[in-house]
Structure formats: C-alpha cells, structure tokens
C-alpha cells in the first residue's frame, strides 16, 4: 500500500474508502473520486508514455486534452480524469504504440 496521501483533510466530506490497483500497487480511493484524483493523491503523476517514450500525466483534468489516457480494466486509452474509481479496478500505465 502506498503511504503518500496528498488529500486535504479540513472541511471535506468523502464517501466510502476503498482500494484500487495501479500497476500492481494498491492505492486508496474514495467514492466519487476519479482515478486521476486518486493517482495524484498517491503522488503518481505519470499516466502514459508516448510513442517517443516521453511521460505524460494529468493536464487539463476535464477530459479535453486526452493526455491522461491509461489502461483501465483492460480498456486502453481511457481518460482517467473522466473515469470514476471503483473498488479494486485495475489501472495500468499505458505505453503508446
């Protein structure tokens, strides 16, 4: 389990807490959070690697830029900023072809 937790605590009411799996590592997520939010909170910034093997992370956060595409439950090119975390969902860093 990753120990980093960058969430603010004061004044935020969160839903149920559960774990998701990112490249084999378990991280925390809360109900209503996107996968992107959970990744950032765990200190993970790389979502995918481009054809030229350059890392890319969350950029616009609103589904427009398509930078944060990852493999979610086997589905490649899923924008994690637009995908809600679900208990035990499996997320993988994407290596673009």
């Amino acid at each position: 389990m990753a120990t980093v937790n960058r969430r603010t605590r004061a004044g935020v009411a969160r839903g149920k807490c559960f774990e998701i799996e990112v490249d084999g590592e378990r991280i925390l997520a809360y109900e209503g959070e996107t996968i992107a939010a959970a990744l950032l909170a765990a200190g993970k910034r790389v979502a995918r690697n481009t054809k030229k093997k350059e890392p890319r992370g969350i950029y616009c956060g609103i589904g427009v830029c398509f930078e944060c595409r990852m493999i979610v439950d086997g589905k490649s090119n899923t924008r994690v900023c637009q995908t809600l975390a679900t208990p035990n969902c499996k997320v993988h860093t994407q290596f673009d072809l």
Binding site: G74, K75, S76, N77, D96, L97
Partner: protein, 394 residues
C-alpha cells in the same frame, strides 16, 4: 498547347498508376489524367490493403498469385516502400454448417497448387489466442497472402512512373474523344487536347461515365463498402489478416445475401479484419449499392463491429477512431474485371471492374495492360476478362 503521348491513362488510382508505371518502363510516353485534385482519391484510398491468395478462384487466382509475386520485390524495384508484409491469410468460419464448404475450399485450393491448411478451432486458438471461441475451423495460407499499404502502392507507382517520364494531370477531366477512321486520335480534356493513339480507361467505379462518351456500356457500378479503423493495439502473434467464411459468398452473390433473413447478412456484412504494422485494425466489410454516396450508415457499422467481435473478442475493448466508405467497381454481369482492348474504337483499352480486388491485382493489371498496348499480346491469358463478353450490351 497540344500535348502528345503514346498512351493516356484515365484515372489516377492504383490501377491507373500501375499501368502508367509499366508502360513508362517499356519506354512509352504516358500521361495520366485524374479528375480529382490528387491521386488515390477513389477506391484505392478507401480499402484495407489486403491481398489474399486463397480467397480467389480460377481464372482470377492465377492473376492474383502472379500479382503477389510482383508485390514481393516491388518496393525495391520502384524505390518506394509500399509496406509489403507477408502476413499470411486465415479464412475462418463461426458456423458449423460451413464446415464441408471449408473442407472443399481447402481441397480446391490445394489442387490449384496453393499451399493451404485446414485447421480446427482449438488448434487455431492455440496458435492465435485472440481468436474467439465461436471460430470452428479455418483455412490458413502462409506463403503468398500479404498486406500492403494501398496509399503507398498508389503513390509508389506514380512516383516511379514520374521518374520514368510519365506526366500527371490532376484536376483534369476528360470531355471528349476524337476518333478518325475508327481509331482514337486525341483526347480533349477541360484544359487542353492530348494527341494519342491509346487511351486506357482505369477510372474504377467511374469508368461507365467515360464509356458513355464513346457510346460504350461498361457494365460496372459502384458497390459501397464501409470500414472501421481502430486505435493501435499490440500486434497479433500469428494472424493479422483474418476473414469470414461468408465473405466470398457475399462477394460472389450480393443479391442472394440481400434476401437473407439475417439482418447483418442483408447489409452484406462479413468479417474482414486486418491489422497493419502500426497496430491499427481495419474492420470490414459491407456491401450495398448507394450510387456514389460515401455516407456511412450506423446500422451497417454496428453489424460490422458485432461480426468482428465474434472472430476477435478482444476488439470489444478497443476504440474505433475512424470510419469511412468507398466503392468497389463491380462488374454487375459476372463480377469479373474487364482487362481488354476494344475493337471499336481501336486504341481503347479498358482496365476496370476489379471489385474488391483492385489492390491485389494492381501490379499484374499494369504489367498485362502495358504488354497489351506495346506488344499486342500478354504473358498470361486474359480471355476471360475481354470486353467482347458484353457484346449484346454494346
């Protein structure tokens, strides 16, 4: 200004450019006329570049095999990479009833000297784990069938022809033919007059319009096909060129398919899956007649996707990035191409009606037509494709 050429090719698709290249190679001065603003705007730019050998029957089989031999060394010959890949070809069935047909098909092909193997479903899945559980049996051919990049074939032939002195007139439309004593003497376009003794109609699905200028009925009509393109995914291990056993049936008789009770079949949908070396899958194929309308139809697209997932279940998680439609120039009399000289007017050559096999047959068509024009004989028999078989129409 008047131009002079030994031969004028009408149509800048793969067939036209191939003819131009092989003619230029024989030392002829060639002019290619294309009405659109660039090459590869018609069917050559709207297909998936699959060249299967085992999907053919005689007399096309011989041409296809010869054509694929030409493809093998074409990149080197023309100095342009056409992305030729000997991927092999798997024709497979998801319907138990088709088993005897598949057996017969494999037998016939082997008798014609094509090295095919009949493989049962379980063994197929061992070799290619991504095949679906519904796949019952397949006929695999490994040595000849290939994939090419159709755009690059088109541009490659044009590039090589240009280097040998061929001229390309784009955005130029043929308006009229001048005929003297039953022989073509010149072609008048919307820009100028070109003096020539040979005109080649290689305008694919648009050939009938040119034929009309000469009072000839070229029995070709556009048969629409729709193709989905997916995002790139890792390459399949064994087969990247997979087709549905109903493909050839629908191709041979789309009218019968239309009467079928299966709604997908009615739209002429058959699985035709190709993965090119970038990892993108192209998913075909459908067949319908909609004039020259390149609109895609949602219903057909849905059936295409459903059919494809039957053969390759993993495609259900892959995004589609593009869908397009194009026209097969289909000869509605017998489905065979027209590769022929015409008696009246003399000097006219027709090379069209390749239906869905234009890319497969492009090199051999170019070679044979160049022989027909410069030597008045061909190195392979093309009697089955003569224009005089439609003499009751003309």
């Amino acid at each position: 200004m008047n131009r002079i050429a030994d031969a004028v090719v009408i149509g800048g698709g793969a067939i036209g450019c191939s003819i131009a290249y092989y003619l230029a190679k024989k030392g002829a001065k060639v002019i290619v006329i294309e009405k659109r603003e660039g090459l590869c705007f018609g069917s050559s730019g709207a297909n998936n570049g699959g060249c299967p050998v085992s999907a053919f029957e005689s007399p096309l089989l011989e041409l296809a095999r010869e054509s694929l031999k030409l493809y093998k060394d074409l990149s080197e010959e023309i100095g342009y990479d056409i992305e030729y890949q000997n991927t092999g070809y798997l024709l497979c069935s998801v319907n138990e009833e088709q088993y005897p047909d598949m057996e017969r098909n494999a037998q016939n092909l082997r008798r014609s000297g094509v090295n095919v193997r009949l493989i049962e479903g379980n063994e197929l899945r061992e070799l290619e784990p991504s095949l679906g559980a519904d796949v019952i049996v397949g006929v695999a051919e490994q040595e000849e069938s290939s994939l090419v990049n159709p755009f690059k074939v088109n541009y490659g032939f044009a590039h090589a022809a240009r280097k040998l002195g061929a001229e390309f007139l784009l955005s130029t439309e043929v308006k009229k033919f001048e005929i003297n004593k039953g022989t073509i003497t010149s072609i008048i376009t919307d820009r100028e007059k070109i003096k020539t003794n040979f005109a080649v109609i290689a305008a694919g699905a648009w050939s009938p319009e040119i034929g009309k200028m000469l009072n000839l009925t070229i029995p070709v009509k556009p048969q629409r096909g729709q193709i989905l393109v997916t995002e790139p995914v890792p390459l399949n291990e064994k087969w990247r060129f997979i087709e549905d056993a109903v493909y050839s049936g629908i191709a041979a008789d789309s009218e019968a398919a239309k009467k079928s009770k299966d709604p997908g079949m009615k739209l002429g949908v058959a699985g035709a899956l190709h993965q090119n070396n970038t990892g993108n899958w192209t998913i075909g194929s459908s067949r319908d007649f909609a004039g020259y309308d390149t609109q895609i139809t949602m219903q057909t697209v849905q059936y295409l996707a459903k059919r494809a997932i039957k053969f390759m279940p993993k495609l259900k998680d892959v995004n589609c990035i593009r869908i397009f439609a194009g026209f097969r120039p289909l000869c509605y009399v017998d489905g065979l191409p027209i590769l022929s000289k015409v008696d009246n007017p003399a000097g006219l050559v027709i090379a069209t009606g390749h239906a869905g096999e234009g890319i497969t047959l492009a090199p051999i068509t170019g070679k044979l037509m160049s022989e027909l024009i410069t030597e008045n004989r061909t190195s392979m028999p093309i009697d089955a494709f003569t224009f005089s078989r439609f003499k009751n129409m003309n």
